[in-house]
Amino acid sequence: MLNLFIKDIKVGAIFLWAIVPLYVVTALQVSRVGAGFFWVNVTCASLLLVAVSMLDWKNEAEPFVHSLPVTRAMVVRARYLTVVMVGLVSLVIGSAIGAARGISLMMRAEPWPRWMAGDVGLAFVLVFAFIASVYLPCYFRWGFGKGNVAAALVLAAAGIVTDIVGPAVTGAGAPGGGLFYEGVPRGLVSQGVAHVASRYGLAPAGVLVLGLAAVLLWVSAQVAARGYRRQEF
């Protein structure tokens, strides 16, 4: 599995290095306008996720990969490992840019941005884990083309549901504002994580979020492996 992970990194390196500068430039600009930066980070991380998966498809390399001494389950597990790495890289880039923006604000005697905080980082982990856990089973079951469409539909549906459920749960938009954390990116997950962190502390929230993300990815990997088991090349 480690060899497949290294393969993913070596194969993807050139494209990852091409995306990262764009990622940095975009994120730097968006960080000027505040909490929207969070969603730019999520989008760029998702682009990296799709780019890694695209390479086998674009190169028609699946027969080659599967002629190596590997099983389909190993290919799936290695891809999840790659995705965890993509998430970490994105988190590091986002944190670095956010910190730079925070420092520049403080140097102008402005307050540290609320969106550049541990709870928002945790929310990023959870949102990205959710996107990956939807995307990868679709990719492994239906391939890059149909899989992308299927994942987009599921994610769009999830977005609509959270838009409806979110305000009802957090009370945002209601008279008095409800549980809405100013400066924290909008969205059920980011607001929810901010709420848990403010109520129970950042460390327990971190354990909860990382545990949830791990469970999501584990369940997703089982589904992906099941879908990929019968795939033929």
């Binding site: 194969v11 190169n59 390399a61 002629s67 001494p69 590997v70 099983t71 033929e232 090349f233």
Partner: protein
Amino acid sequence: MGPILELRGVTKHYEGFSLHDVSFSLPRGHVCGLIGPNGAGKTTIVKLILGLAHVSSGRLRVCGEDPATAEVAVKDRIGFVHEVPSIYDHLSVEAIASIVRPFYTRWDQPQFDALAREFDLPTRTWFGSLSRGTRTKVALALALAHHAELLVLDEPTSGLDPVFRRELLDRLAAYVSDGLASVLFSTHITGDLERMADYITFIRDGRLVFSSTREEVFDRWVVVKGDPGDLDEGTRQLFTGVEVGAHAFTGLTDDAPRARTHMAGRDIVIEPATLDDIMYYTGRTC
């Protein structure tokens, strides 16, 4: 030691195509040519051996093991060259070798380096910018560098120049000469097989027509040419396939003595069949 490759009643169903009840085996130290027209099922057999597709029913053993349950161990012992090798266009040959290397327990880097020099591979060039022939050479070097016990070659010579093609055939003959390694060579360039295959397996419309030693094939199969007037229902029964022209008929049979006896006294010519003849005339009824 048992055969390196064994198929018993292997069936694979696709929508619109099925491979039916295919049985043949390949002993160690031999080359088996897998022939058949396009769409006959050759590539399906290759995919089943490599685990790229799943067997619907029947028994498949590679190096004595079931690829479905011992996938990694089996693939560690197989070298594969695809008709049009697709790896990663944006990676150099060197980078591809560095990716492939850790997967194989018996990878031999000096062997790969020697093959790269021998095949004149541009190791720092992107794979995507290589000609089809050079891609095949890369895939072959990768397949040979891990001392595969079974080389599976799917139409490997179709993109190669005649000089390298001949060299490749010599190399494959040398590769199996230790009696341990074997080659399954799927091709429609039958001249390659007539030169070096020990066994010939002929697939047509998803069904096995025959799987025999090369000597048996050339001893048994003959082409009979004669006057169309000598053809009747009885003589037609002799032939696996027959083509009737305005002035002559050509029939293919795997029973030369019977054809000679049955058509004795008629003005016919009997010639040994080539593999091309066998592929062309089998099932032909016009």
